[in-house]
Subunit: 345 residues, 2 copies
């Protein structure tokens, strides 16, 4: 497996990406192609002893900025690092892409270059959240703002395959995010989706509420990208706000500060548990290939772990399994009369 790393996208590019790639190659034996401005990459690589590591460079002359529009970036910047990285996958020279750049552009480039997986109308960005009992994958947290029920069913199946084969959960439970657990709750979209999910070949647990994400009652939480993005940013924002408020209170007296210093190890273990860097990036599911979208402010560790997970997705043939499950479920749907519409759209 070879991973194409777009080194030009993140807030601290290409420094953090190159360092993360070197760490992934050294610690996990990953094979990596660094995609971006070759002079800058060479300058970064010169900082490390990379003898014996499988790291090569593929030049790309352009960069998609955080404020570029996704589709313009693809059409106008044909030699951008993110697009070139996906082209390497298309040409069979790489097996997966990792990028900390503009997530809309990454999604657009992935779809444009590699096309969608059979059975998928819209790819989704999945985000792994820590829960009280493990992890849950929430999707879509990306750009699919106005979804149809069959889109959410596709998300559910992709999420369940990801949970099973990458997160190692034998029988992942799928929850549909809603404003209450009773069947009478939900909006038009979720009520129709819920009916469809009752017939898929994975365990569907019905509606779950916002609090259930962290309680860990489902390993797969499905929602449209508008709601999912609010959930993602709210969680990040709340975690930051809690730390900031606590820090302020703790700094307000000597005794509190002393106490904090003593219990700091506990806070650090907690931080490690909830740190997104542990799982590195958010997989872009539903394209003909593997893409891992990292936070713009990713740390070296986040990049390293994203490369590791991207490699695992490619090695385990997650897309092939998704395509099989999609075909299996969508063909059976077409034969079920009780389903309110042809969910294959």
């Amino acid at each position: 497996m070879k991973i194409a790393v777009d080194v030009m996208g993140g807030d601290n590019a290409p420094q953090v990406e190159v360092e993360g790639a070197v760490a992934a190659a050294r610690e996990h034996g990953m094979s990596i192609i660094l995609v971006g401005d070759q002079e800058r990459i060479k300058a970064e690589l010169a900082k490390y002893d990379i003898k014996g590591l499988d790291i090569s460079i593929h030049h790309a002359s352009e960069v998609v900025g955080m404020h570029d529009s996704a589709s313009d970036a693809i059409r106008k910047k044909k030699d951008s690092s993110i697009r070139v990285a996906f082209e390497l996958v298309k040409a069979g020279e790489a097996d997966a892409v990792v990028s900390a750049g503009n997530s809309g552009a990454t999604m657009a480039a992935g779809m444009y270059v590699l096309k969608r997986l059979d059975g998928i109308d819209r790819p989704a960005i999945a985000q792994v959240f820590p829960t009280l009992v493990g992890y849950a994958v929430v999707l879509d947290v990306g750009g699919n703002v106005d979804c149809k029920p069959f889109h959410l069913v596709q998300f559910a199946i992709m999420g369940a395959v990801y949970a099973k084969h990458i997160m190692g959960i034998k029988n992942p439970r799928i929850g549909l995010l809603s404003n209450g657990e009773e069947d009478s709750k939900g909006n038009e979209l979720t009520r129709e989706t819920s009916q469809l999910l009752k017939n898929i070949s994975f365990e569907y647990s019905g509606y779950v509420e916002g609090r259930d994400i962290f309680a860990g009652t489902s390993e797969v939480v499905v929602c449209d990208g508008f709601v999912g993005n609010i959930v993602l940013k709210l969680s990040e924002g709340l975690a930051e706000a809690v730390s900031s408020m606590l820090r302020e209170e703790i700094s307000s007296s000597f005794i509190c500060k002393l106490g904090y210093l003593l219990s700091r190890a506990a806070f650090q273990r907690f931080k490690k548990k909830v740190d997104y860097a542990e799982y590195g990036g958010a997989p872009l599911l539903g394209i003909n290939g593997v893409g891992m979208i990292c936070h713009g402010g990713s740390s070296v560790k986040a990049i390293k772990n994203a490369i590791r997970f991207a490699n695992e997705c490619a090695a385990k043939g997650v897309n092939q399994r998704m395509a099989e499950k999609l075909a299996e479920n969508f063909s059976s749907y077409n034969n079920v009369e009780s389903v309110p519409q042809n969910i294959a759209g």
Copy 2:
């Protein structure tokens, strides 16, 4: 001002409600009518010295349970404590209602008995959130799952009036919750709503993201009830998960525990800041009267504070001010040609 307290609704009814009411009467000189089973209320009141306090009892023979459907409860249980409490307001015997019962039933009873405020199509439940710099009111966090743009505009105006007159914010800024700050983001609902909000007589700051709620960039955050309910429960769930994970880590060693004991004062100040009991309940905005919906598991302090805020809403004539602002804004809309539809619906 006289506050009708439905004492039968909460998880620990009528005990907590009666104790909270006694505290509100004693500490803040509130005038209170306790509504519910008179024998049980008398038994609870016997525990306190209520001499000189303005507390009376109004008997109601039925109770709406947490699992009763809202509309059935109103139609079938005509002598339920929540419905009778609103009837007291209608009859002019009370000025506001406080309940820790079934929030759907409270909303339904309020609408059924008191009717909607002029200019309002759907009442909303507003929730005050602590932020890094103060407080923000988020609405709707209740039951309006599939909203039209003009519903959200009505929520925005009600929220702004509440923020101004009850939260004491001179020029409240209104943010529309979305999946990104740029105008190109949002879903069909928010894009149309955003155009409408640009013309109202309050400061509209555009789209805000999930993280901005806690950063405090807007004092009023508008969303539909599906999204708002997820936001509310996610925040509660995340806060609980963070406490629980931290507690586990802290208990794992003696030094960490000792450290925690020393810094406990900081944690307690933090807890007080984020404790919903401080602001008591979520106002039900948009009915012809004042209703305050409390958490089912409300503490005595939460009930006490909810009574205080309900009294303040009634005393300050918040509804009158909302009606004025709604009339002012909606009449001007009807004359603006650029508005895509008649937002008065």
